[in-house]
């Protein structure tokens, strides 16, 4: 059951203090030299407000760019193996866009569909998501084409929508959200007759995701992918900034006495990703790698998990050195 309340800007400041007092770390969008990153904040004033999106995604909070999986010591005829126990603080992710918040669901599908990934789960367990509805959108955005929206509650424990009078509409969506409210219930006021929809950014859908998923199997051998990927330079920027891309590499770093095994982000767009030690590469051309990225997100993943591995945030488009606009390419595929 969703509870709908209101909170003033001043009360929000008090709520930040209460969150801090409860031992929670608050991560929110912070701006330095025009770059918006997820950073530790103590007050709402430290949170960047003019931004549309974080450059990187909030997946870093649950799937860091580098993390230790295990460590060991090697001795003659003996190995001492140590499990990694990440030190994880209770964390509030404040001010995530609804698209980002909904990305955690895809990540959960990847990390827990079969065996469970304890590193991801330990972080998710300690995490509360405070979403912030969008009142603006840009040319890269396409959340409404993939089942999301500027005020979507999916993935948020608590969703804020800025009201005209400086207050925020507060939707309390989960038990974790209720815990936040319970920290300082007096800060919240009842909300009466607030028209959330009217406050949100307007974004027309550009294509129908389910129609795209239905269409892709028939387009596998199409020239379209070679055509589209001609401009692609084959880096991993799109995947690394993506809130749902979860492909990773496992790397060993060691000297003669001890070592550790690290997990780090990887991307299907990189040639190295599938390259065998023998030199054989199942996806040797950039066109095949571009196709894999599209198919993984919009064909294979939906077939297995029922929804697309994309939240329409457009981060990939903004991060791309050569403007491989995903919305545009998907719309083109739908029309092929």
């Amino acid at each position: 059951m969703t509870t709908i309340l209101k909170i003033s800007a001043e009360s929000l400041e008090a709520l930040f203090a209460a969150l801090g007092d409860s031992g929670r770390r608050i991560l929110g969008p912070t701006e330095t030299d025009g770059r918006v990153d997820l950073g530790e904040v103590q007050t709402p004033a430290q949170v960047a407000d003019a931004h549309l999106q974080l450059t990187l995604s909030a997946k870093e909070a649950v799937f860091p760019r580098v993390e230790r999986l295990l460590s060991y010591k090697t001795m003659p005829g003996k190995v001492e193996l140590n499990d990694a126990e990440p030190d994880i603080q209770p964390t509030v992710l404040f001010g995530l866009r609804p698209c980002e918040a909904s990305g955690f669901g895809s990540l959960d599908s990847v990390f827990n569909w079969d065996s469970r990934d304890k590193f991801f789960n330990a972080r998710v367990e300690q995490m509360t998501v405070v979403g912030l509805s969008c009142t603006q959108a840009d040319d890269a955005c396409f959340c409404t084409s993939v089942g999301g929206g500027p005020g979507s509650t999916k993935g948020s424990d608590l969703l804020l929508t800025p009201l005209a009078d400086g207050h925020y509409l507060v939707e309390i969506l989960t038990a974790k959200g209720e815990e936040i409210q319970a920290l300082a219930p007096h800060l919240f006021q009842p909300a009466v007759n607030e028209d959330k929809e009217a406050l949100l950014a307007k974004l027309e859908p550009h294509f129908d995701r389910e129609a795209l998923t239905a269409k892709l199997p028939g387009l596998f051998t199409s020239e379209l992918w070679a055509e589209q990927s001609l401009r692609c330079v084959g880096c991993g920027a799109c995947a690394f900034v993506c809130p749902t891309c979860a492909c990773f590499d496992i790397q060993e770093e060691a000297d003669t006495k001890e070592g550790q095994r690290l997990r780090c982000w990887d991307s299907c767009g990189l040639r190295q990703f599938t390259l065998h030690a023998s030199g054989h590469n199942p996806r040797s051309a950039q066109a095949e790698r571009w196709r894999q990225r599209i198919y993984h997100k919009f064909s294979y993943f939906p077939q297995r998990f029922g929804e697309a591995m994309c939240v329409g945030c457009g981060k990939c488009t903004r991060a791309c050195p050569v403007d491989m606009n995903l919305k545009e390419h998907l719309t083109q595929a739908c029309g092929t």
């Binding site: 990153d37 001609l230 401009r231 084959g234 991993g236 995947a239 780090c264 982000w265 991060a319 050195p321």
Partner: protein, 267 residues
């Protein structure tokens, strides 16, 4: 713009080029690479002051090479990279037809390396005023301040390799980063791995960097990494008197030597 589109159309129609690489309008009106193979495609071509990216990286791509003779709409960066790629024998001399567009929209065909060299010689310095200012600022800092500056900046690196992928000079089939016997540079993007990656990149581009700044523009997290490669290039220029991208006949500065190379630090 019409002149350019017509020129591209003519080249394709007369078989003088099978593909014309240029610029088109992208998301929110930004300029992005464009590939014209038919008369219809040429209608997308645009040219203005926003066409700053270096397109030369596409010239060494097998997908493009397979298409046949290439014409390329070339700004100063692209022309310099074209010369450097020729000097490094990645492109046959005169294999590419460069189209230089003047401010009034007239198009000059630069069909030979010599023509490109002459054209480039008359163009202003590659480094932008803002980059020059940032370089001077860094030079004026104490060593410790510079270390903190780069430590903080490089900490943001996620090793997506957008810098490498968008650099026209990073054409190696297998990059040092991808060699793992031994693993010279750590793959994960931790602080040490990032520093090593970016110093290797700068060293490998010293004497080869055409200072187009493409790597810095490509960086999704906004690290001014082009300053590193530009610095290394300028170090080569000052000490050895040669500049990458100035000619199609240039020995690799760090692949050669002069017995009287002057230094002041060897004891």
């Amino acid at each position: 713009m019409e002149v350019l589109r017509n020129k591209a159309q003519d080249l394709l129609a007369q078989g003088q080029a099978q593909i014309v690489i240029g610029y088109e309008a992208g998301t929110g009106g930004i300029r992005r690479p464009s590939f014209a193979r038919t008369a219809a495609d040429t209608a997308r071509l645009v040219w203005d002051a926003d066409c700053i990216s270096n397109l030369a990286g596409y010239l060494t791509r097998p997908e493009i090479k397979r298409m046949g003779k290439t014409a390329i709409v070339a700004n100063a960066s692209t022309l310099r990279a074209l010369l450097q790629l020729t000097a490094e024998r990645q492109l046959a001399e005169d294999a590419v037809l460069a189209l230089a567009v003047a401010e009034d929209g007239t198009v000059t065909e630069l069909a030979t390396a010599q023509a490109v060299t002459d054209h480039v010689a008359a163009l202003p310095d590659a480094l932008s005023a803002a980059d020059r200012e940032q370089m001077n600022l860094l030079a004026s800092m104490s060593r410790e301040e510079r270390w903190v500056y780069w430590e903080k900046e490089l900490q943001r690196c996620i090793k997506c390799y957008a810098c490498r992928s968008s650099c026209p000079m990073c054409y190696c089939g297998t990059c040092t980063m991808d060699c793992n016997k031994p693993q010279w540079v750590p793959v994960p993007s931790h602080a040490l791995g990032n520093l090593e990656y970016h110093t290797v990149r700068a060293m490998h581009l010293a004497g080869r960097c055409v200072e187009c700044g493409e790597c810095g523009r490509a960086c999704p997290v906004g690290i001014p990494i082009h300053l590193l490669t530009c610095f290394a290039e300028e170090s080569v220029h000052q000490q050895f008197g040669q500049k990458a991208g100035a000619s199609a006949k240039l020995d690799y500065a760090l692949g050669t030597f002069r017995p009287d190379d002057k230094e002041s630090f060897i004891r």
